[in-house]
Symmetry: C2
Subunit: 124 residues, 2 copies
Amino acid sequence: MGDINAIAKQFTDFYYQTFDTNRSALQSLYRAHSMLSWEGTQILGANDISEKLTTLPFSQVQHKVTTLDAQPSSPTVASLIVSVTGVLIVDDSPNPLQFSQVFQLIPDAGSYYVFNDIFRLNYG
Amino acid sequence: MGDINAIAKQFTDFYYQTFDTNRSALQSLYRAHSMLSWEGTQILGANDISEKLTTLPFSQVQHKVTTLDAQPSSPTVASLIVSVTGVLIVDDSPNPLQFSQVFQLIPDAGSYYVFNDIFRLNYG
């Protein structure tokens, strides 16, 4: 499982760094059949997902990953499920928000794209 | 997506009710190639997963689901990813613990089994 954990770490490092610095560049990680559930709202396809992510109502955001777990998601394809918990620091708020996020990554042309993405804030 | 949400609700209702009342009965939900990541510990197969779940260091536990999201996890098979956040009340502790749990459910003989299971407590 060493390899899969390294892939998960590399993906999430890239994903959250891009989210926090250049959100519109996330679009290339999704495909036309990718799904995002954002706080219970379901969005289909890279265009609409990018539209959602780039119009979220904050300007500055910083993700800090607390836990990262990965498992193979198929016996036949090198896809993986990545589960993240962490905190979000939004704009100048002094209160970090806990979040949970799940990705399913599918191999494609030497890299991976996001097929499933489920995001939730965790209110204490 | 109505159907998939109903399946996710039915599964999690059953799973957490069984966890909270008769933990050893969870074994039938897993198969020999099922995977559990429990607080970062990786466990493979129904037998070892059941051993882990039945020997957790608490006697009474109650799960309360706060959010539940589901998505199809394959374009070709009726499998699904279920993401749960909620709280755990352990023994007589007055402090509920936040948790995040992810399942991938695979259809099998008119029902579903758990292929992936990732559990994490979220410390605030």
